[in-house]
């Protein structure tokens, strides 16, 4: 029994590492701009389809395809913010929600037109199927372990950037007070572009990992958004490690729930999310320093 629960917790933590990849970008964008990007999940699907194209056309492995996909999404994030979202910044909460919701609908339908609704996957080779046997009843897959390690490394990198560099400090100052940041010589609009670019770079990794874990289709983005959003709320809005903890909590809740019945997997996650909203709306780690 104890072993069984231990196994569920371990699998849940690994699942949480996967969710953290989705949630980190959402949290960053919220922390810097106070907007929720409703197209965040769909953009992870876009990243996965980019990987499909690159792997098919250039016969790249999934590892080789990852970097170009990250760069593509980074550029899309910068362009999206510069060309569209910067126009509606500072005009209240409704407009960014409506615009990104519209964007989400457009992305889903364009993907349907181009790729159809047939599920596809990314070939990950031995990495996606193999695993390590920890004991008789506990084994962990290479891919989930790699995913968790990747998310810790990326979040650590992001935090180091925000804390230690001139650009990172400018991001945090803009997050605190964008008008005063301008008085320091900071172009806040450029900072918004940078934040969105970083967020989509992270979601690119999430999308590619997702494609290796399981098959995906154009309509899957909304599910990804819900989990990411729940992780952000559980962890505390605008805190990177809070979001990471929130993602782990969500993963463990879903894993434990799935032991009761498959239907309970999602339900348990939603229950933790709602309980947090009811009893501790500031999240596990409310915004402490910077983003």
């Amino acid at each position: 029994m104890t072993i069984k629960i231990l196994n569920l917790v371990i699998q849940g933590l690994l699942l949480g590492g996967f969710y953290a990849l989705f949630a980190a970008g959402l949290s960053l964008v919220f922390g810097v701009m106070r907007i929720v990007n409703l197209a965040h999940g769909d953009l992870s699907i876009v990243a996965a389809y980019f990987a499909v194209i690159l792997m098919d056309a250039l016969h790249l492995s999934v590892f080789a395809a990852l970097l170009p996909v990250i760069l593509l999404l980074f550029a899309i994030g910068y362009g999206l913010q510069a060309g569209l979202l910067n126009r509606i910044m500072g005009s209240g909460v409704m407009r960014p929600l409506l615009v990104t919701f519209g964007l989400s609908v457009i992305i889903q339908n364009v993907l349907l037109m181009v790729f159809s609704s047939d599920p596809v996957g990314l070939k990950g080779g031995a990495m996606s199927t193999g695993g390590i046997q920890l004991s008789d009843s506990i084994s962990v897959g290479y891919l989930p372990v790699l995913t968790l390690v990747l998310s810790v490394v990326l979040l650590f990198g992001l935090e180091t950037y925000l804390r230690r560099t001139r650009g990172g400090r400018a991001v945090r100052a803009t997050s605190d007070d964008d008008e005063t940041a301008q008085l320091m010589g900071i172009n806040h609009r450029q900072i918004y572009c940078l934040a969105m670019a970083l967020a989509l770079g992270l979601v690119a990794v999430a999308g590619v990992v997702m494609g290796v874990r399981s098959t995906f289709a154009p309509s899957l983005g909304s599910f990804r958004l819900i989990f990411a959003y729940e992780a952000v709320i559980i962890g505390g809005m605008g805190s990177i490690w809070g979001t990471f903890l929130g993602a782990l909590a969500l993963g463990v809740a879903q894993s434990l729930g799935s032991a009761i019945s498959p239907a309970w997997a999602l339900l348990a996650g939603h229950a933790v999310f709602l309980a947090m909203l009811a009893f501790r709306p500031t999240g596990l780690l409310p915004k402490t320093v910077g983003v």
Binding site: R166, R169, A170, R172, A173, S175, D176, D177, E179, T180, A181, Q182, L183, M184, G185, I186, N187, H188, K287, T288, V289, G290
Partner: protein, 233 residues
């Protein structure tokens, strides 16, 4: 040669006229005090010069260059700095990080940092503290230090002593006096402390309901005239 020349400046908040036809000029090394009642438009004037408020008419020239339409962040590069009303330190950043953000465009922020620590030594022992935890006076010192990090030619300070203890105010004025002595920094000062303002300012601009009603050397103003100015009479 004037450093800053504001001419015919109109600024609106919606339909409300905050400034109308304001003229102001500042020479290099000069300290100009802007005096007026609450709502006379002092903060609006500083914001319009710094670029966070747009002018509807008129112009702002800095070092002979028309900067009326320039974004606030570009004006910093030219040598303008504003210590905003209410200090507005970045609460989630440490004291030293606040200063480094102030030196965002500086080529060598570390060198500026040591100059600022020299001018405002109380910041040295606070350098690792979160700025939100500082007292009002410490925050004001930090806000001034942060503005100096960009090595401005013109420093604007909005409500220097508002809400601060007299002993703190005294120290801040001593710092301003020291900056004035260097001779290469011009200052526009907005403050309610009449005696100190009259002591430090070379020129005074009296603002009433968005208009400059009198501008001249400090010696040409009587104290009662300034007092009346603060009450908007």
């Amino acid at each position: 040669m004037t450093l800053l020349a504001v001419s015919g400046l109109d600024v609106f908040y919606g339909d409300l006229r905050a400034l109308s036809g304001v003229e102001l000029s500042v020479a290099p090394g000069e300290v100009v005090a802007v005096v007026g009642a609450n709502g006379a438009g002092k903060s609006t004037l500083l914001k319009a010069i710094a670029g966070t408020r747009r002018a509807r008419a008129g112009s702002v020239h800095f070092q002979g260059q028309d900067i009326t339409g320039a974004a606030a962040y570009r004006r910093v590069k030219m040598g303008l700095a504003l210590v905003p009303e209410g200090r507005r330190v970045f609460p989630s950043l440490t004291v030293e990080e606040n200063l480094l953000v102030g030196g965002h465009l500086a080529k060598d922020p570390k060198a500026n940092l040591s100059r600022v620590y020299e001018l405002l030594p109380l910041l040295v022992r606070l350098r690792g503290r979160m700025s939100a935890s500082l007292s009002g006076g410490e925050q004001q010192a930090l806000a001034i230090g942060r503005a100096l990090m960009s090595q401005p030619k013109l420093l604007m300070i909005d409500e220097l002593s508002l809400g601060l203890a007299p002993v703190v105010v005294e120290r801040l004025y001593a710092t301003i006096e020291a900056m004035k002595q260097t001779g290469d920094l011009s200052i526009i000062l907005v403050d309610q402390n009449i005696a100190r303002v009259m002591n430090i300012a070379d020129q005074i601009s009296l603002l009433l309901e968005g208009r400059v009603i009198r501008h001249g050397p400090t010696s040409s103003f009587s104290k009662s005239e300034i007092v009346k100015g603060y009450f908007g009479a």
